[in-house]
């Protein structure tokens, strides 16, 4: 099942609707990395609220997505991990280091907005 990707201002929102196969995940990765350049997006939100299971492959792919998107000049944030899923993940040792997380879509947008602002300030300072 394909993951719909919505464009919202400077951000892309990938909203996962159901359990994903490994192929779906790879496709999501490829699409996001491609579209972030096409739309000149500043940030990507991956919403996993609907997932009630997160295995090593999906968490590794999410980490890969984050790093690839970073190389393409944007920030990624994963939002909506359920409490039970989070606990199960850390017990399996899947802590998704280096992947910013937020409670839900709203928090994720707030995080990205703040990231953009700080980056902008830094550029301003460097420019001077």
């Amino acid at each position: 099942m394909q993951v719909p990707i919505l464009k919202q201002g400077p951000f892309l929102i990938a909203s996962v609707q159901s359990a994903l196969s490994d192929a779906d995940l790879l496709q999501l990765r490829d699409t996001l990395v491609e579209q972030v350049g096409r739309y000149r997006s500043r940030g990507v939100i991956v919403d996993v609220t609907a997932l009630d299971v997160m295995d090593s492959f999906s968490s590794r792919t999410l980490r890969d997505i984050t790093q690839m998107i970073r190389l393409r000049g944007a920030e990624t944030v994963v939002v909506g991990i359920q409490p039970e899923v989070a606990f199960a993940m850390v017990q399996l040792g899947l802590t998704m280091e280096g992947v910013p997380t937020a409670l839900d879509l709203e928090e994720g947008l707030a995080y990205l907005n703040q990231e953009i602002r700080t980056k902008g300030n830094e550029t301003e300072r460097h420019g001077r």
Binding site: I81, Q82, P83, A86, F87, V90, Q91, T95, L103, E107
Partner: protein, 308 residues
């Protein structure tokens, strides 16, 4: 009508219909005779029973008068159960009795002991009554023993069940009391931990915290462990896991109030604490959290200006 047979028949029709097990008409006659005997001598038998309870040093938490009063009602219920063969009334009574005596510290062996004593006292009295007629004594005991054993069983099970219920309730209460997750400010939760953390409690703390983070939309959590005296590697690792799980929900965790002993233990056992933000005390933890949330405390700004 034979009530015992009716009762057994309700539970297990096949057993009641098999000729070997089915109580004969004479069993019910014998039981009736038995009950009449027990009714007739009840005062003596009760006194004898109460005397033996005191003699065996059972129910030491109760006074002699209380024992006698309780003995009277147990005796009446016992005889009634023998007579009717139904255990419902006795079950209800046993539950009621347990509710009253458990808070006073009566132990399981005492309850079981007094019921078995009553059984012995009654059997002894039957024995002395029918000692001349051995064949009849035999049949009387045949009728008496299964019924008496079932009664003893019912009372003991009732007591133990009541006890377990009380224990479960208390465990539940303790568990709820032990994990207060408090909201101090918008997006800021405090989780004070006091006492010993065992693996089960640690797990429950984590679950409670993660649910609260979601429910209160928390962004920062301060876990205060000032009240924790000791910590082993298992609990420490669990704490690290809690911090990581909270991060996955988008919340930052600050651990405050690590005692010198815990700090030493954690370093000695080599728990990787690099992912945890730790602050000396709860006040520092809250200040740090407010800083992360972007609050500017008037006090700290004054200090900063004075220093700057």
């Amino acid at each position: 009508m034979n009530e015992i047979r009716t009762h057994a028949g309700m539970n297990d029709p096949q057993r009641a219909s098999s000729p070997a097990e089915a109580p004969t008409e004479s069993t019910s006659l014998l039981l009736r005779e038995l009950v009449a005997h027990l009714r007739h001598y009840r005062t003596q038998l009760r006194q004898e029973w109460a005397r033996r309870i005191t003699g065996a040093r059972l129910l030491t938490a109760m006074t002699d008068e209380e024992i006698f009063a309780e003995a009277t009602s147990v005796y009446n219920n016992y005889v009634e159960a023998l007579e009717t063969g139904t255990l419902e009334a006795l079950q209800a009574y046993a539950r009621n009795l347990s509710e009253r005596i458990i808070p006073r510290g009566v132990e399981t062996h005492e309850v079981l002991g007094i019921v078995l004593l009553l059984r012995d006292v009654l059997a002894r009295s039957l024995f002395s009554k029918y000692r001349e007629y051995f064949a009849k004594l035999d049949r009387i005991l045949d009728a008496y023993e299964p019924a008496a054993n079932r009664i003893a069983n019912t009372v003991a099970v009732g007591f133990v069940q009541e006890r377990e219920r009380v224990i479960m309730e208390q465990q539940e209460a303790i568990r709820e009391l032990s994990t207060p997750v408090l909201q101090v400010r918008e997006r800021l939760l405090i989780l004070p931990i006091i006492g010993v953390i065992d693996p089960q409690r640690a797990r429950q703390l984590t679950e409670q915290l993660l649910k609260s983070i979601r429910a209160n939309r928390a962004r920062v959590v301060v876990i205060d462990i000032t009240g924790v005296a000791a910590m082993d590697s298992h609990v420490a690792n669990h704490l690290v896991q809690t911090v990581e799980a909270s991060r996955l929900l988008g919340a930052t965790v600050i651990v405050s109030g690590l005692s010198p002993e815990i700090a030493q233990t954690l370093v000695n056992i080599g728990v990787d604490l690099s992912k945890m933000t730790t602050v000396g005390d709860l006040q520092g933890g809250i200040e740090e959290a407010e800083h992360l949330l972007g609050y500017r405390g008037a006090q700290s700004r004054d200090i900063a200006e004075a220093e700057g």
